[in-house]
């Protein structure tokens, strides 16, 4: 269950005066069960890239392979591909439309052509896994709170039981607590169900503490590809692209400049706290 992009380019408004290249010559391979963070500033081509991955956009050049098959080839049915490569858009709660939450989540499975019982079973399971309580199933999705709406919307994609889950800034516009809850939820799904997750994010903290591999996009191509530690060691290049390292890295650097000999390669808060404690103990010893 792997995704491969081979030399993919995408041009908006191709052939007209307003043509603009969003992606050019991008190649990448994403393996089974990976948890990937996709970062890049606005306009770097992230959104275009993820839409190419589930066939909502067709590449102008190059091809995208899912399990070795070209997704725009004759062998692949795009509709079923989209249920395997689930894509949760930004502000997914804006796509809710049904009269109650359960029915809305059943929309995906219904389009997959499953029986009503199976649709219901999958919807209930998806809603439970995102933490929407049973008494909310029969409520109108528009009565839910912001965080709950987002959970319901994510459940709408999960109910199709995708093998790959792509989320475009799932934490945008949520308060810190809602953010942590959604991220923990996604990590949990990756751990327990073993699905491949691609998380698009603006927040370096979010990706640093959750993902195993980071792809950094800039100007329609992938600039860095590696573990969070590797990627964030290119701090200056990231800053040139309008990105940054997690803020804890800067704190560590500041501490070092004050004379505390900490390792500045720390990227998560818990890691950093351990490192500071270690240094302080060493100094006091």
């Amino acid at each position: 269950m792997s995704i491969r992009a081979e030399n993919v380019s995408y041009i908006y408004n191709e052939g007209s005066a307003m043509a603009s290249t969003a992606i050019h010559g991008l190649s990448v391979s994403i393996g089974d069960g990976e948890f990937i963070g996709l970062i890049g500033h606005t306009g770097s081509g992230k959104s275009t890239f993820i839409q190419l991955l589930n066939g909502l956009l067709a590449p102008s050049e190059g091809r995208i392979l899912y399990n070795g098959k070209d997704i725009h080839g004759t062998e692949t049915d795009l509709k079923s591909l989209r249920t395997k490569v689930g894509l949760v858009f930004q502000y997914p709660e804006h796509q809710l439309f049904e009269s109650d939450v359960l029915k809305d989540v059943m929309f995906g499975p219904k389009n997959q052509g499953l029986s009503t019982e199976e649709q219901k079973e999958r919807a209930v399971q998806a809603l439970q896994s995102v933490g929407v309580s049973e008494e909310d199933f029969s409520r109108s999705p528009f009565e839910l709170s912001g965080g709950q709406k987002r959970r319901a919307a994510i459940a709408g994609v999960l109910a199709m039981r995708p093998e790959v889950l792509i989320l475009d800034e799932p934490t945008a516009g949520l308060d810190p607590r809602g953010r942590d809850e959604i991220l923990d939820l996604i990590s949990g799904m990756h751990r327990e169900m073993g699905i491949t997750v691609i998380l698009v994010s603006h927040s370096m903290e979010d990706v640093a503490s959750h993902v195993g591999r980071i792809l950094v996009m800039d100007d329609g191509n992938i600039r860095f590809d590696g573990t969070p530690r590797e990627v964030f060691s290119h701090r200056e290049e990231l800053e040139e692209m309008g990105l940054s390292a997690p803020s804890i890295t800067y704190t560590m650097e500041y501490l070092r400049s004050l004379g505390l000999p900490v390792d500045t390669g720390m990227i998560t808060i818990s890691e950093a706290a351990g490192e500071i404690l270690r240094c302080l103990e060493e100094r006091n010893a």
Partner: protein, 267 residues
């Protein structure tokens, strides 16, 4: 998907027509339409055609672009010609069963077709050379006298410009929602008419909700900035007539006078 639709079609270039005061273009177009219905002889139509051709030349908008705007109305044009051709009483030219094509019918159909073509081209030319915002400004200025009759002129103009401003936003929104539902396996391309209409529900409901949400936000933002209608409101770019505008008025007046004369003389 929706990226092929061009609405509020303004053609960006620099020409005499683009620089004219929008009030001149609005009134000019209106006068031109009246002139089209005054003339009823070949000479009159020729005059209108020459005037229109000169304007197109002046606007520097490619002819292909203007004619492209005619496509959607071709159907309407065809229906008009068809009915005029068959159902105008007069001297029959060809008769089949109880329907006959008359001499008057042919002449009326040709005239009507010419009028409609000129009318659409003329108004298209106006929207191509005037931005929607300029147009609403002009509309507000031209309709201002109606204020004495308690017509909410400013409010109407404001509604128009907001509506126009929202078209691209809602188009983008529709595209986004469509994609989001397609990612959930929705299908908008296959099935019969009823099925397709039903399949639109997952797009329409979120779209309506988003439109209301945006309207709410906009109203709030306007109120937060103390918007309270047109009373005492000044403009950043007030409309001021220049020499070119008076020349344009004279040209329009001259063409209109000629049309009236042609009609009166019966040439």
């Amino acid at each position: 998907m929706l990226k092929d639709i061009t609405l509020g079609q303004y053609y960006q270039t620099d020409s005499v027509l683009h620089r004219l005061d929008p009030r001149v273009k609005l009134i000019g177009t209106f006068v031109f339409i009246i002139a089209l219905f005054i003339v009823n002889t070949p000479a009159g139509y020729l005059l209108c055609a020459v005037f229109l051709a000169a304007m197109i030349k002046l606007s520097r908008v490619p002819l292909r672009y203007i004619l492209g705007g005619m496509k959607p109305v071709l159907f309407l044009l065809a229906i008009t010609v068809f009915f005029n051709l068959l159902f105008t009483p007069g001297t029959p030219l060809v008769s089949v069963w109880r329907i006959s094509i008359t001499r008057e019918g042919v002449s009326f159909a040709v005239k009507m077709a010419a009028r409609l073509c000129f009318l659409i081209t003329g108004t298209t030319l106006m929207t191509l050379t005037t931005t929607p915002n300029q147009l609403t400004d002009a509309l507000e200025a031209v309709l201002r006298p109606l204020k004495a009759l308690h017509v909410p002129v400013h409010e109407i103009a404001m509604m128009m410009s907001i509506a126009l401003r929202f078209i691209p936003i809602l188009m983008e929104e529709t595209d986004k929602i469509m994609k989001a539902q397609m990612a959930r396996g929705a299908d908008f391309e296959t099935g019969n008419v009823i099925r397709r209409a039903k399949n639109m529900v997952p797009i329409l409901v979120p779209l309506f909700i988003s439109a209301f949400r945006r309207a709410n936000d906009l109203a709030m933002a306007m109120e937060a900035r103390c918007y309270r209608g047109g009373e005492g409101r000044t403009r950043m770019k007030p409309l001021v007539y220049g020499r070119a505008d008076y020349t344009a008025y004279s040209v329009i007046a001259a063409v209109f006078a000629c049309c009236v004369l042609i009609r009166a003389a019966g040439i």
